[in-house]
Symmetry: C2
Subunit: 171 residues, 2 copies
């Protein structure tokens, strides 16, 4: 089965992101607005139990994360993805690192640029139109994130949450 | 904010449900296939923390649940909802009861009929057509469910998972 790891921002930021995703993001209906922490990977039922335990340990050792968004940006010319740029900080980068170390190692195509996608699969013309507007946006949003989620993908491409991991929570 | 409590069946059963939901369920894109344990309710940020602690206690005291589906059924003539009928059992009914007791009390319109919706908002003609086919289906599916989820609703009507609660797990 195909799994992925993501964090969901607050309802407020999700509603904001969705106001753009509705028109510009072909994945709008497949998953709520999110920040991908680990790209899709395959795991068996047995493997995911072990991974789940590991994620619990990582979560315990990670403090809640400040999520700060100041503007929209684009991966153009690599691809026509428009996103809310999440300011990198130590906790977030360390969490990403932990989710790609040891038994969770995974080849990654790109360096980690924390982001929340709001537009993708746009034609070049659409991309420059839309980014022409969104690139001007001044955003001032900051919030604390205290959890991340392990999800799996259904056959229709949508994602279901398998488990939540609370940060910095010794139980 | 509006919250709800649901459990998600296995990927296999979700894929099966989605093969019908895609055509017959207007909520197809808003939430993965699920069994509603508690209808939408309002809670503040403060209240949901308390509720979350309560759900953790309830989860600890609940054993994993057998989820058995043998057929599709319909709420017609009350409404034109077609669903996978989940056979009631003690654990499931007790969990539902716990989620509606004490501080979680909630007025409920109907008796609890555990189900996974696969069609809704159908016209009467559509309903009799579709149920004419689905009502004949013999299904033999049984699985164990070891968690439930607290979700909240975004402005576009879709649901995001806030937290997972593992059943019978003392930590």
């Amino acid at each position: 089965m195909k799994y992925g790891i993501a964090l969901f921002p607050s309802k407020q930021l999700q509603d904001f992101a969705n106001s753009y995703r509705k028109r510009y993001d072909t994945h709008y209906a497949l998953i709520p607005p999110h920040l991908t922490l680990k790209n899709a990977f395959e795991a068996s039922d047995e493997e995911i139990k072990e991974i789940s335990r590991e994620l619990e340990n990582i979560a315990k050792q990670t403090r809640p994360i400040q999520l700060k968004v100041l503007k929209a940006s684009s991966f153009y010319p690599v691809n026509n993805v428009i996103y809310l740029k999440v300011e990198p900080n130590e906790e977030l980068m360390n969490l990403h690192e932990s989710l790609h170390s040891g038994s969770l190692s995974q080849e990654t195509e790109y360096a980690f640029v924390p982001h929340i996608t709001i537009g993708q699969n746009l034609s070049s013309d659409e991309h420059s139109d839309v980014f022409g507007q969104l690139g001007m946006l001044k955003i001032e949003h900051e919030e604390e994130i205290d959890r991340f989620h392990l999800l799996y993908q259904l056959e229709n491409g949508s994602w279901t949450v398998y488990e939540t991991f609370r940060l910095g929570r010794d139980r």
